[in-house]
Amino acid sequence: MTLEVDIRVSRGDFSLSVKSELEGSGILGVYGPSGSGKTSLLRSIAGLEKNVSGSIIFAGEHWLDTQAGVFVPAHRRAVGFVFQDARLFPFTDVAGNLDFADSRSRDAHSSITRERVIEALDLSPLLHRGVAGLSGGERQRVAMGRVLLSRPAVLLMDEPLSALDQQRKTQLLPYISRLAGEFGLPVVYVSHQLDELAAIANTLLVLDAGDVIAQDSISTVLQRLDISVFDRHNAAVSVFDGEVLVQNHRLKTTMLGMGEQRLTVPQVQAEVGARLRLQFAAKDIALAMAMPESISIRNRFPGHVMEVQEDSESAYADVLVDIGAGVLRARITREALQSLGIEPQCSIIALVKSVSIEEALPLA
């Protein structure tokens, strides 16, 4: 996918200006706080935003070119859009919603078949149910299935999980990774929840107050200490690829490999050898100058400090620690930083209090 976007949207006192080349396959995450212009960006790409000027070029096709007077209407752009509120058609059942998209398919040679979609999203028990009786999570699964059957060239998702509770969210995330992986569809996924994006995205674009302030591979962007929105929302995380090494059924734990590092976590339902995405919240990392003995935290990674940044506006400091398998981001108090004398190059032990684990596309 290459999607060249150079647009301005202005409405009242809000203005968005994005100039960016959205490239590659997999999931492109778009992060920004509420009101940063994420949804306007997505709606502009889909052709739903009318107050937009500039140009949008998808795979050489001009969808928008204000100077040449080109505005391709939404129904002629090969995009699929998953809305925050599923927007299923209430006058028909689940199968009818799928048919609506299937009969308007954009690509007759697509490898996406009705059977594969129903299987991938576990839709068969829902097919003959009315839309009104579905739960929030079921609705979004149907909405995703419907969008896939219109055989889009790119999938745009606008906070599809924000209306769901944490448990449903966790259940749905793997489905989204599967769409991108199994059907080879590029996905642009918008969210104001960094942990959601860290769980599934391969590339991350950060919007703040209508401007693009970062765009790179997700692990690179997450290591940037200059992006203040992460800290403002206490959301900073780091991500790693992990592999299931040993399942200990007696103690109900799983040992995961992360490069040369090993970590033990409460049991994960996955086969030995399965590749998973590991996510560490910066506020759940503690730092020690020497390996602590007799401590309940079992996951301890020796490494050395790469970068330190004190946030003079708050009590906290951000520290990047190279642990061999990658870079871990920790957020500790400035008081601790100063009294321990933590500074670049010093050796350190990172203690991990918790990790969240998702089925996701590999980072690299």
Partner: protein, 226 residues
């Protein structure tokens, strides 16, 4: 012996008028429901006029507008060879105007209730605006279409004043049900008047019952008692 031809004439007139009203009223109602044009209020007022005007006023102006000496009436004579006044075609024109609010208002209400969110969903699934109208708006507005059709039909069936002004009382051409009842009463033939009047009363009641009964039952109910 009662003459049934006014009944058939009325049914014929109501049917033709309702079909024409669907064709004229649907785009008009859609425009009224979606447009933010400054001409919208004035259009709405014109459409609603027949609700408040005495039918004789409407009939009087139509008589002036459509008679063969007028521009429109004259043009009609040149093109079709027939007259728009005191003829069946003239009654259709009059009925369409007279029943317009009964078609447009239920449709406009139904169309306003279709959220643009669903139209956006349709568009991103590859449906053109016309396709969206046919396959999203129409099924979302089924009750509106039913109400509009039934009310327009029943309202046309019972019209009197406009017909009297522009159509007169020509058997088989313009003598509709209500005119026939009026004439039976004038000639003190109460038995015939009773038969026709009671028939119309019963039919109108039935029609309204259908509309209200269908409003009670959700058309989007697809089971799922759970």
């Amino acid at each position: 012996m009662i003459d049934w031809s006014p009944v058939f004439l009325s049914l014929h007139l109501a049917l033709v008028s309702t079909v024409v009203l669907f064709l004229v009223g649907t785009p008009l109602a859609w425009w009224l429901a979606r447009s933010r044009s400054r001409f919208r209020p004035i259009t709405e007022a014109i459409v609603a006029l027949p609700l408040v005007l005495p039918p004789t006023v409407l009939g009087f102006y139509l008589l002036i507008l459509l008679n063969p000496q007028s521009a429109i009436g004259g043009l009609w004579v040149t093109v079709t060879g027939g007259s728009l006044t005191f003829s069946f075609s003239g009654l259709v024109v009059a009925s369409v105007l007279y029943s317009l609010p009964f078609m447009v208002q239920p449709l406009q209400t139904a169309f306003s209730g279709v959220s643009s969110a669903l139209l956006e969903a349709g568009a991103t699934l590859g449906a053109s605006p016309a396709d969206c109208f046919r396959h999203v708006v129409v099924p979302m507005s089924r009750r509106g279409f039913l109400a509009a059709g039934v009310l327009s039909f029943a309202h046309t069936l019972g019209e009197f004043g406009v017909v009297l002004m522009i159509g007169g009382n020509i058997p088989g051409e313009t003598r509709v049900l209500s005119i026939a009842i009026y004439e039976h009463v004038e000639t003190l033939d109460y038995a015939s008047a009773h038969t026709l009047a009671a028939g119309l009363l019963f039919f109108s009641f039935l029609v309204l019952l259908v509309v209200y009964a269908s409003n009670r039952r959700s058309l989007y109910d697809h089971g799922d008692a759970a």
